[in-house]
């Protein structure tokens, strides 16, 4: 499967990346080579094989549904690039 620059731009938008022109060009070629390589998987017939998402067979891990202390505002906000009292601050979302 080949990938063109238009698709690279679409994927970048989905991934919330703003790529420079030289990056777009570089990634188009490199992703094309990698995607050509992963095509080898199509040599295998996987009909009737169930997918593995996790190597260790496990049931859901449940815990009691009760309130426990969390890390609190001060520590949660300590690494915020911008904050206002107990909130993260961002540019206006609604005009």
């Amino acid at each position: 499967m080949s990938i063109n620059q238009h698709e690279i731009e679409h994927v970048a938008k989905l991934a919330r990346l703003s790529l420079r022109d030289d990056e777009k060009q570089l990634f188009t070629g490199q992703m094309e080579a990698i995607l050509a390589y992963v095509e080898t998987l199509n040599e295998l017939n996987t009909d009737g094989i169930s997918p593995t998402s996790h190597a260790v067979p496990m049931e859901n891990a449940f815990r009691p549904d009760c309130v426990t202390p969390s890390i609190g505002h001060d520590r949660a906000l300590a690494n915020a690039p911008d904050k206002n009292e107990t909130y993260f601050r961002v540019p206006p979302v609604i005009e």
Binding site: R16, L17, Q30, I34, V38, I71, N79, P81, D82, P91
Partner: protein
Amino acid sequence: MELYEQTIHDLQGQLQARQVSSVEITNSFLNRIESTDPSINAFITVTKEQALLDAAAADQRIASGDCSPLTGIPVALKDIFLTEGVRTTCASKMLDNFIAPYDATAWARMKSQGAVLLGKLNQDEFAMGSSCENSAFGPTRNPWNREHIPGGSSGGSAAAIAAQQAVATLGTDTGGSIRQPASHCGCVGLKPTYGRVSRYGVIAYASSLDQVGPMTRDVTDAALLLRVIAGHDPKDSTSVDCPVPDYMAALKQGVKGLKIGLPKEYFIEGLDPDVQRAMDQAIAVYRQLGAEFVEVSLPHTNYAVATYYLIATAEASSNLARYEGVRFGHRAKESSGLIDLMMQSRSEGFGAEVKRRIMLGTYALSSGYYDAYYIKAQKVRTLIQQDFIEAFKSVDLLLTPVAPTPAFKIGEKTADPLQMYLSDIFTIPVNLAGICGISVPAGISANGLPIGLQLLGRPFGEESILRAAFDFEQATQWHTKKAAL
């Protein structure tokens, strides 16, 4: 022998007997870091003042008669582990100023025994790489030859052991990131079974593959450190609730009577002749020790790299969505609104390899390609796992090379990501199957670079790989060879 040349088990005895203090040991390592790290670049952050305070506290603890295996032992951590109050960068510009609000469980367990943190180690950014060249803080150099890479992604963790800058370190292994650098730097690196060690507080790359493990000077230290960090953690719902055996006791059981499989797909044409020779010699050593060898087949080996680069990148694209410049991490100065702020912050904060993997993973998960790439890869993952299940029906362990060649040169593979990915062919299948593996020093190449031997075991079979690794180590002297610095 200098203090910085010794193992955990050497130093522990001396600490207990009060022949040496933790402050003396810690100073020995801090001086060693100061004199060697300008030419190696294994450390991103050195926590000198805190280390000396913690060493003094450990000495008091020992004086009061409280001495656990790690009390007063200076260690260092890959910068992917959260360390409360200490900068944690994951080798990314994105987290340049990030101060971790809590400790990773693996580190918390070491800390509660009184281990002393020397600092945080270099790696490939977000653990994405095989050479430690993808770091926002510059590449780490191999202490055996500074023109060469130390391996990756836990390159700093391996180089720090080889340069004698820490007694032991922790790394993480998603596709070989503990075993491959351990092999390239001549130290011991153990990737436990998926679920054996908690991933809580470890910055996520590919959550179904990531696993924490020890990197040490010898097998005894690996067993000792694994015993401390292993075990169920309610904070990691994928950590498995099964008892942690006494790995130290397992070491003494020997390999006599064990059946070791040699997967024919791992002994291929194109294997470096020095690596082939080291494997042949290792097999001869094991035969003398009383192990039996049989050839086995892992028929889907050649599909592992393709499978990995779809699954790992898909998981990464989802995990790394959290870096949006709002709650923590880098924020772009200029932006035209919230979405643009996220896009600019991510584009400025991530390096090229991270962007490439996010792009690949997003593509594999995107509408129209999800079944063809992501689900297909998950199905092939099942086949790869079945290969191992089948092989372990007839053998106790598998023996393979860790990497097809010794450490390559800095810059040699940076222009071609696919070539870089293919260097992990012998380590990647292990993560896909979730089993355990260890790299042990097993030779030196003609140009003076270490070569590692990989032993693979059944899920939760760490005792058998440790016991086989220990017997090999005792019968050879490779682990005593040191990089000339």
